[in-house]
Amino acid sequence: MFVPLAQSLVFGLLVGALYGLAAVGLSLVFGVTKFLNVAHGELLMLGGYASFWAFTLRGVDPFLTLPLTMVFLLVIGVVLYKLLFAHMVKLTEEAKIQNTLLVGFGLSLILQNVALRLWTADTRGITTSYSRMAFTFLGVRFPIVRVASLGIALIALFALDLFLRRTYTGKALRATVENWEAATLMGIDIQRVYLLSFVMGAALAGAAGCLVSVGYSIDPGMGMSWTLKGLIVMVLGGLGSFMGTFVGGIVLGVTESATGYFLTLTYREVVGLVLFILVLVFRPQGLFGTKER
């Protein structure tokens, strides 16, 4: 009884770290720009394929390609921002959320089908020489790839936190989250802050995608489910604290695996959505955090 349950919770925790990482990117972008980029999951998918092909064609270790994948997604982020999202900067907040949702939706459709064309619908994953290795503690298996992913997610999170707390640019970003107009009055170039946070979000998606492709599997259609996970976690964790968001990811992961354990595996996906709707309906103001005035 203990071991299977603990095992399932550990797996939940490990996958939850990736949910958290995906959500942190989404919520960083949303917090600063009020862009609801529902193509975030597709960016993650692109990151996954970048690592997959680097490994398959060139034999590069996925943990080595991680920074490259992030840079790759950063570039894609710049292109997408300039091409699409920059047009929506000046809209009112509500219109901005609405239109970015629609544009992001169109974008996800495009990326998903381009991926399908290029790489077929096959499910893929990276299998390295150490993929099957694991250490066991009290009978519970800890696959090292997934544990390493948790470590990397934590490092990325701390780096982000440090950046936001310690650097001038990071503070400018936080100021923009609180009140973009007041931030402008500080001489902060909002357009640049928006671009920066957008591409950082994309890079984080790339990192998450890379880790998903090593520890789990990727396919062209994975985007929507990851975007939904990101949204769920964002709502659970609230905006403002990325640590909170990350913890929200772990909560979702563990809840899913507990559901899988106690009910059936087929309802894992549903539980997060139900949670999401409950929070949406009963704490709408707590969503995505409200600012204190």
Binding site: L84, E94, G106, R117, T266, P284
Partner: protein, 320 residues
Amino acid sequence: MGRKQVIFIALLIAILVLLPVVVKKDNIINLALLVLLYICLASSWNILGGYTGQTNLGHAAFFGLGALSTRFLWMSGWSLLPSVLAGGLLAVAFALLIGIPAFRLRGVYFAIGTLALAQILYITVGNVFSDISSLRPQDLATYQLVPRYYFFLVLALLITGTTYLLVNSKLGLGMMAVREEEEAAESLGVSALKHKLLALSISAFFAGLSGGAFAYYHVGYYPRFPFSPEWTFDSMMMVYIGGAGTIIGPIIGALFFVVVRELLALKLVELHLIVFGILFILVVLFLPGGFVEAWKKMQAAFARRSKERGVKVSFQTTDD
């Protein structure tokens, strides 16, 4: 409506009615039927999404519920029409159930909330009804496409006609006021919640009926198939590309969608979705009125040009 328009519409309906009589090819009729199906879906989405301004990303849930219950009732011996009607009503019941909490959510929260709800149904239905749903042998033996085609035709006319009456009524004006500015509408005594719920119910009812028609039409499918989010996304794109908040928009959008899909499907399977994705983004960014607006703009530009030319001509005559 002007006289020209009335004649045009009458002509169009006549063509649609006569189509199966003239064209005997099943694949053409089937294509026309698909256009009608998408007109139904898109037009019903348009009532809430286009006219009332509430982006519903869970439309497939209504379509799916209609299909699910119709199929169940019809196969268990009910006759067709009551089954389909029950499907529509079930969709309304569900819509009302979720509508009140969902409309506490403004703007985008409504959109993602409805998406989540539809996903819950999609997955759950897939889990509960995992076997393919096929028509009974006796239905299969007598299966005919033409009655299905007429069923969809009637439904499409019903939805379009209702939309027309609706938007020219006080209710419709209220819905559009809510879309334009909710606070302002409320301050004029228009209850936003009431209008949204009404629009949602009508929209859901028609989507449910369309689902029922789908259950009548489709030979064999997995019960979760009509719940798939693609139905929602496709409808939404058709509405936007054609022209949201117009009657003709979803019709043009649906026709365009099916035709382009057929043309491109010959070469590459998914290409049409890429094309639609791009078009959709362009419309959202640069042409919020879709094709309808583009057409109006072109007409206006044309009228201006010919006017200018007219001025020139008159100068020439005075010169002479």
